[in-house]
């Protein structure tokens, strides 16, 4: 936000004023990364939380830090305004293990959670070991990444592992090479955001013996991360909640385009969509009604196969029948015993049908679940009619031609 040009009568005073002004402007811009998605109270709520953590915004150029907790200043010696707007590599130094950094970078690129012990540097230059817990924060509805949260838990000296293997410099270089060989186009947005956790100038320096975090430190990192996500959800302005950790299995499950997500979101029935072309037919969409029926959260169920609902008493013959219908691209309705997350079972009226996209090929399968045991009000409709209504609505939505020609989010 540098600006110049006007002649200044009292350079010192004016300079200070302007710096202050620019500083405020800059901070406000960064804060809007949060306040655009959450209410203004979110900053106060985050300030209340104990622990040293920060939030970064991958959508802003340079993937800057947009929030730093009070605890971070105590741990690192950096005042909040000194780190806001900078990349997270500010904490790295000469002896920070590059293999560890590459791991973090890969996690950012793949948009998944990651925990690693890493040697960081305080403002005064002194190194200290922290357990870095990094996790993406997703918009639960459309699966887009809003922020990354990074919790730093200091690793106690006593918890130091005696026989930790020393990572050689060679291994680190190989790891780095492999990273560079990747096609950056896979993640056009994440390709630069991944780099912010790495400082290329520090290459070739000897890595220190890594310290191992204790279980209690790991738990502390996770509980801090959970409380951050809880605070974000409490003050969310978004149409859906945010979720953290894994959006799906660590293998990249594609996210649906936002227009398709919007159309599907209107459909009230309890259903999931599975991707027909990916191995093991992972779930790529779950309706709100499905989540409340089964008790799973969206991030738990996405990426899973529909067999997670099976349990003792689930008929294998019926499962086989479904599989045969799937293979022959036919629809079927079956009665099945299904299980919720809490282990309780329900009589499940299940309709499975192939769904074709604009190319005419089967892209997804819809699985409409109905708890026959529960009381329903379908406005005079039979459960079967109610179920098939969802199938028709999904067919129309999926048949839509999208501008990009793909129903999937291009960056995934």
């Amino acid at each position: 936000m540098a600006s110049s040009g006007a002649a200044e009568a009292d350079p010192g005073e004016r300079e200070r004023e302007r710096e202050q002004h620019d500083d405020l402007h800059h901070q406000r811009r960064l804060a809007s990364s949060l306040t655009a998605r959450y209410s203004d109270w979110v900053l106060e709520a985050l300030d209340e939380l104990p622990g040293s953590f920060l939030l970064t915004d991958p959508a802003l150029a340079g993937h800057p830090i947009v929030y730093a907790s009070r605890g971070l200043a105590a741990l690192t010696g950096y005042a909040r305004r000194e780190v806001l707007g900078r990349g997270a590599r500010v904490f790295q130094g000469a002896a920070t293990d590059r293999a560890a950094v590459a791991g973090v970078r890969e996690a950012v690129r793949a948009q998944r959670a990651h925990q690693v012990a890493i040697l960081n540097y305080r403002r005064d230059g002194s190194p200290h070991w922290v357990l870095l817990h990094l996790a993406p924060v997703f918009h639960a509805r459309d699966g887009s990444v809003l922020h990354f949260l990074a919790v730093q838990v200091p690793i106690d000296d006593a918890g130091r592992g005696a026989g930790a293997p020393c990572r050689g410099a060679q291994g680190a270089v190989l790891a780095a090479c492999r990273e560079e060989a990747r096609v950056d186009d896979d993640f056009p947005c994440a390709s630069y955001s991944g780099k912010v956790f790495v400082d290329m100038d520090r290459r070739g320096l000897e890595a220190e013996k890594p310290r191992i975090a204790s279980d209690s430190e790991k738990e502390k990192a996770i509980s801090t991360a959970n409380s951050i996500v809880a605070a974000l959800n409490r003050y969310s302005k978004l149409t859906g909640l945010v979720v953290s950790g894994k959006r799906c299995d660590s293998v990249g499950i594609p996210a649906l385009s936002s227009s398709l997500n919007l159309s599907l979101g209107r459909i009230k029935q309890s259903f999931v969509l599975t991707h027909s072309c990916l191995p093991d037919m992972p779930i790529i969409y779950a309706s709100d009604a499905f989540l409340s029926l089964t008790g799973y959260s969206r991030e738990e169920i996405l990426g899973c196969n529909c067999r997670v609902l099976n349990g003792p008493g689930t008929s294998l013959e019926v499962i086989e029948e479904i599989n045969q219908h799937i293979c022959s691209e036919q629809a079927c309705t079956v009665d099945l015993l299904s299980y919720r997350k809490d282990g309780s079972s329900f009589p499940d009226l299940l309709h499975v049908s192939p769904i074709r996209d604009a190319s005419g090929k089967v892209a997804f399968h819809i699985w409409v679940h109905l708890d026959v045991g529960a009381k329903h009000d379908f406005n005079g409709l039979t459960p079967e009619v109610w179920q098939l209504g969802a199938v028709g609505a999904v067919r129309v939505a999926v048949r839509g031609l999208s501008a990009s020609g793909s129903l999937l989010r291009p960056s995934q």
Binding site: K268, A331, G360, N379, G380, L381, V385, G389, V396
Partner: protein, 369 residues
Amino acid sequence: MVSATKVEGEYSFLSKNSHLDQSEGVKTHLYHFGAEHGNDDLKSTACPEQGPSLLDTILLSQWDNFAWKGHLDYDVTACQLKVIEGGINFVGQLNNKWNSFSLKEYDKLFESFRCSKPNSMKSYEGLLLCVAQGENDRPEVAPSASPPKDGLLLIANAYPVEYGHIFLVPAAVNQLSCYWDKRMFGLATKIASEVNNAAFRVFFDSRTHVVSDHMFFQACYFPNPLPVECASTVVVYEYGGNARSDIIVSETVGYPLKAIVFTSNNLKALVNVVSEICFSLHDNTTAYSLLISNNGTKVFLFPQVKNLVIGCSLSTWECGGYFIYHTKFEFDNASETEISKRMASVSLQDSAFEDLKHLCCAIAHDLVK
């Protein structure tokens, strides 16, 4: 489940109808609109977050069930779609099963209706549901009821142009009109509004009279906006005196087929004005197509001249910019230039279109006061 039962073996929609139990009265889902309370304004301002309407759910469900049971000639969702290159974004569908003669087959069906005694209708599986005006506040569904005389039957088209393709015909089949039926148009528009799904479009081709000599509507779900709906428009008449009876008459700009667009949140006003214009067009024996879109708040009127060279006019979906190709070669080689030429060849001459515009404005002015 639904009244339909699976018929084993080869199934032919038409032959099935020719040997049915004549004495059995038909039972189907009966959907009653909520009663009107003098308020004609559409509820289309309702929050879209509410989700699909009851009528939308039944219609989609009944259609999908009908397709699942194997009663359709083909699965239209297996037909490839593409956007034809150019600025207008015409949509092409590769479908070697559909042909324009399938509509003529339905003439036989309607003929069989007309021959049967009033109210002793044959049952057949193409019937998805019946829609009628109701007396209670909220819309209601009876899972199995006899269609009332004043109802509208929604019958699946076994040769669909798109998902959910149906015919809308009067339940009292002897009432199939050879002339413009305003009440029926009102019901069809009401259905468009009550389905409340942006993908759902109702359409009408006056040219079908040439082959069938009675009037019916069609409807289906087009997943994307039709090119004509995306075309820019200029207002030619706007009546803003009374917010409740606002109606806007516009014309499309930059679209190869001249069209007049009527927009209103007042269903009655919209139906009155468009009906009056259709009466005039019938008197003049002008061929035209109607497209009801945007949840029953918008009606596109495509007047057409008889093209002696091609010998036929465009169907409503073609007027809207949606074309079916029978062969892969045609599909791959579809071009905006060729389509535009076809449209221009049936489009009204400038002077005739100006006359029609004036007529539309005059009727709108007279009726909406």
